[in-house]
């Protein structure tokens, strides 16, 4: 499994999508997002990474995704295949909130 590097100088668009989910469906949602990434997203132009997290209380799933640029994300969103996967994930989650960010600072231990 690869690792992901967070570097403010890379200039990526960061999409943090936070899903709210019934705890007993968290694994199911993770499986859909994992499959969606492998079968759809990861071959899209400009895709850099997806990082799938489950919250300790299992009420949330978060995808921390990096994309090369906003036009790459717009093209992905307009792709019917990508949309199928998002609809599937949205059906399992009770809600989700995608927010687009720029990484500005990275701090390590002092």
């Amino acid at each position: 499994m690869p690792v992901t590097i967070l570097d403010p100088h890379a200039g990526y668009v960061v999409l943090i999508n936070t899903f709210t989910v019934e705890p007993d469906r968290a694994d199911e949602l993770m499986a859909v997002l994992s499959r969606a990434t492998e079968q759809g997203m990861s071959a899209q132009p400009g895709f850099v990474s997806a990082n799938l997290h489950v919250s300790v209380d299992r009420k949330h799933v978060a995808n921390y995704a990096q994309w090369r640029s906003q036009p790459d994300i717009d093209a992905m969103m307009a792709n019917p295949e990508a949309r199928v996967h998002m609809v599937e994930a949205a059906k399992i989650a009770t809600s989700f909130e995608p927010i687009y960010y720029a990484l500005q600072e990275t701090h390590g231990p002092s």
Copy 2:
């Protein structure tokens, strides 16, 4: 500036704290979080990284932080110095939602 590595095998606790903020105060909130990290958090035992993001619409600031373990986070939360910084950030933000996660999967381009 260092970079941060996301690796599911590292076994860190990931704390994603999403702040909602008036867009014209986003820079002010970022400055407080940056100072809080450099002057307080980064010297705490178990601190691994903090990654500060501003949303494209400037309505959110997100801190993607890695800690070695939950007991390290609990000790930081019980530290009055850390609390001072959190209170300062909370005053600038209109709301914030800290969620604790485990990173389960990292995907790169196919």
